[in-house]
Amino acid sequence: MKPVILWSDALIFLLVAALVLFFWRLRRDPQARERWRQVFASRLGMAAFTVIVAYVGVALLDSLHFRRALPPPAGVTTDEVFYDNQVSSVLDTLTAGMGERFERTYSAPFALRSFEKQTLKNDAGETVRDFPPLRHAGAHLDNPADRWADVARKSALALAWGLALAALLILPQWWLLRRSPLPWASSWWVQGVLACIAVWLVSISRHYHVLGTDLGGTDVLYQSLKGVRTGVLIGALSTLVMLPIAVTLGVCAGYFKGWVDDVVQYLYTTLSSIPGILLIAAAVLLFQVYIDLHPDAFPTGLEKADAKFIALCFILGVTSWSTLCRLIRAETLKISQLGYVQAAHAFGVSHARILARHILPNTVHIILITFVLDFSALVLAEAVLSYIGVGVDPSMGSWGNMINGARSELSREPAIWWTLSGAFLFMFLLVLSANLFADLVRDAFDPRTRLGPEAA
């Protein structure tokens, strides 16, 4: 096995580490602790957070890339190890080769036969038009009529294993956290359900295509799982790009006022007056041209797709900082009039120190609220951008690409509903949990809503 580290892999692990560090430091701040407690005191918040963590977990597993060692060719006895050209991830291993069981083309969920008729030869040697049996799904069955009994039997077994896994997950947490006042139970419920579903999906998809297959014969469930990484990364990395620009410019504009303020205001008014999609499209096309002109900078298709993906995150970040910048500028204008900032001035504290010690920490709540609110918007935007044709590389699994490829499938007769359902379902769950969580974070951290009777 030879590990392969893509740029986006490194960035996402860096981001997760930074977030963990941030919260570790925040732990000592009593005010922040109190607010986080308010977020997690809600059962809904706890459940939504658990779902988000599950998604991030899948994304991280899918970000550990490696190339498999191939068995040495017959008759060759060298110490040199050959590696597979195909880069796979830990997630591919955990799903037990779900993505390697290709069919010829469309097949319905749990189907044993293909969706389209083909010219076949029957036992008597005559040519007939019929639905050909699938290569992998149900290949272990002697009699196709046993299918549902077999599914039921396998599901029962999987449920047992799932419950065992859930118990393994939850019991240590219960032991540690049983005296905690927070509603951990709702998190455990979600964990249990997710564990059961995961075990069921992995075990049953060894023998069937749970969400069918698409035009190219790839398992739809596998594609949806691969879309998790793209969705989570695009939400997280774009915000990571946006934050430094928005925070620096916003704080400087609000603090120094005068011409700095004018310039920053001019910049964000100009940027926000350009229709966002056009700006993104132009920038993506620009990067596409750059890749085409420098093919040697990206030797493999995977690296090219990855570079394009990072460029997309970068572009999304650069085009979307104006809202946050405006909010931070307004907040800084307010804070810099307050007594303690004036006092710091009078003591001769340097500008840089005032900004870092007195102003920046007091805008953290705005940054946090924007981070969680933007996350879901970006996940949804990815699908739209891919539909328009300026999204992530078609070779990279993403929900937008799935929807784009399946856009006319519903108008077929009979309709092919499973590709779209898979993509929309996975996207909906992530965005819903992110939105619910974002709402709670905003309620807890936004001083305006906190003072209102809403919170009471």
Partner: protein
Amino acid sequence: MFAYIIRRLLYAIPILIGVNLLTFVLFFVVNSPDDMAVSQLGAKYVTPEAIENWKAKNGYDKPLFYNESADGLGTVTDTIFFAKSVRLFAFDFGRSESGRDISTDVRRRMGPSLAVALPTFIAGIGVNICVALMVVMFHATRLDRAAVIVFVALMSISYLFYIIGGQYLVAKTWRLVPISGFHVDGQVWKFLLLPVLVGVVAGIGAGARWYRTLFLEEANQDYVRTARAKGCSELAVLFRHILPNALIPILTGVVVLVPMLFMGSLLIESFFGIPGLGSYMLDAINSQDFAIVRSMVFIGSILYIVGLILTDISYTWADPRVRLS
């Protein structure tokens, strides 16, 4: 007030120049005049002379930003950037790369865009306000909490899903309206019904939730308590006291969008085959027609700035306490 508007309009000029500069840089880095000449002439006929001829004919034979050979003001004005931008300010968009006149296309496509966007906008506001008022009536009950979660769920659904699902259900399964298309005669409403419906339904989640918070902010004011204390019925409080006062923030949030209605919706128009400006933009992006994209960016930013000015004006109109100076 008049002086204020004039000043705002003057302030718009540097912004528009900035927008132009940015799009110019972006598009000409992607597509230098030489590339444009090659793609226009077709790979077969490319000779250095042909390229030079094409550039001279279409006005691309000058330097991009700074002309060293000219003197005085000519160093700045005798450039591609100046020539192409000044024409935009005069609303002369020139020709697309397929040779069609962009101004004519824009004028022709504005109608269909507006035919979809305007009903969607008005019906959307009406429906959202009604839904939000209903929820506010049941404030702090189970129904209210459930409604908020439903709103969040509705806004978590991808816009693409609303469109694809709407087409499948209404047009394909129930066969009530055509799946897509546009026809300029008495039957035009048939083609507009589904896009408008989809647009309104897709907006309910975010819209109603926003209006609900606005109404609740007003519902906590003293004058509402006074109204209740003097014995107004709950409906009278809602419609005579809360609604008119909440109109101020609603207005300021909504007016900025009004000019943008001309631009139409990219997704709706492309899915429903409506020949408006949204699908025009999408086609331009897909065929990499930068002349069209630049013109649309310019129009879009003008409309945005107009929206900002209208917002300020509507403020004074809705709230007599506000004075523009």
